[in-house]
């Protein structure tokens, strides 16, 4: 099996597990971000540069959503 296929399959299994066990959107998105960051870091040497660049917008978008979640939680705690 191709290395790219292994990476996609790993992420698919991760997403599937998260869908089964996680009930809230906040935690789900955070777990997706963690999964993507781990894959990008661990498999970075196997991924060609163009693909790495292609993954960056997804990582930035999920980070942005994560920041909104954190801000929301902080506001909740403060109020």
């Amino acid at each position: 099996m191709d290395v790219d296929d292994v990476i996609v399959l790993t992420l698919a299994i991760w997403v599937f597990i998260c869908i089964i066990f996680v009930k809230t959107v906040d935690v789900f998105v955070t777990l997706l971000l963690i999964g993507l960051l781990i894959v990008a870091e661990v498999a970075g040497g196997f991924i060609k540069p163009e693909t790495k660049q292609g993954l960056k917008p997804a990582i930035y978008f999920l980070l942005f959503v994560f920041l909104i979640i954190v801000a929301k939680k902080v506001i909740e705690v403060l109020s």
Binding site: D2, D4, V22, K23, L32, F46, K48, A58
Partner: protein, 248 residues
């Protein structure tokens, strides 16, 4: 590649519909499934950029070139083993010099990328064949995949090539070590199995790229000592013979 694009697009569409439906019904599990679908669709689309040729077609196209170069080396009756030259001002991509005699000398100042047959020199010891390394494009890939510049980075950096070779399906693993001034390279699971004793003079792009990476990482010329091969395993012995300044 086309099928991956279609699969990615379908996942994004299904994911979007599920997210929308989940939002209307305020069902968080459905929203999660939708987001997961869109996420996987984006990942599949991102990873669908690679384009490969079939292995049989690759062999049919590339192997005759190997044969041509090997026949040329045979015909020239060059006695010495290959010397890998790291990139320097005259040869920005580095080079492979195959001296005419075992007792050789190289004047790097006289070499440049437009020279191939080094015959117009005063001493016969300096004669030989200078070729562009067959693995220079692979070296560029090693550097771009690992986002590192191999220049003067030390021998350990060359092992980054292992991930790229595995990713491209060319070899399974690569180990590089040095002891008592001897550099040993072990390549396992090599896909192109076309090795012969002539590899000591002109190696395939895989071995050539690794030897050139070593020369670049050490910023020293290295001479091949021996190639051993057994089915899909290759062991290369090489030796440092000094930096660019020494041979100028």
């Amino acid at each position: 590649m086309k099928w991956k694009n279609i699969a990615g697009a379908i996942l994004i569409v299904i994911g979007s519909v599920l997210t929308f439906k989940g939002a209307i019904e305020t069902n968080q599990s459905l929203i999660n499934a939708g987001i997961g679908g869109v996420f996987l669709g984006v990942v599949v689309l991102t990873f669908s950029t690679s384009d490969y040729v079939k292995y049989d077609a690759f062999k049919a196209v590339v192997l005759p070139y190997f044969e041509l170069v090997k026949n040329m080396i045979d015909a020239l009756d060059l006695k010495s083993k290959a010397v890998y030259i790291p990139p320097y001002s005259n040869l920005p991509d580095g080079g492979v010099f195959i001296p005419l005699h075992k007792d050789f000398d190289i004047d790097l100042a006289k070499l440049d990328k437009n020279t191939m047959f080094i015959v117009d020199v005063g001493r016969e010891k300096e004669m030989g064949l200078l070729i562009t390394p067959l693995g220079k494009e692979l070296v560029k890939m090693y550097e771009s995949y690992s986002e590192l510049d191999f220049t003067n980075a030390g021998l350990h950096i060359v092992e980054n090539a292992s991930a790229v070779l595995r990713s491209l399906g060319l070899a399974k693993s690569l180990t590089v070590e040095e002891s008592d001034g001897k550099i040993k390279v072990y390549i396992e699971g090599v896909k192109i199995n076309n090795c012969s004793k002539i590899c000591e003079q002109i190696a395939c792009p895989i071995c050539s790229s690794i030897l050139l990476s070593i020369a670049k990482a050490l910023q020293e010329l290295i001479i091949v000592e021996e190639f051993k091969f057994d089915k899909r395993f290759i062991e290369i012995s090489a030796r440092r013979i000094g930096g660019v300044d020494k041979w100028m």
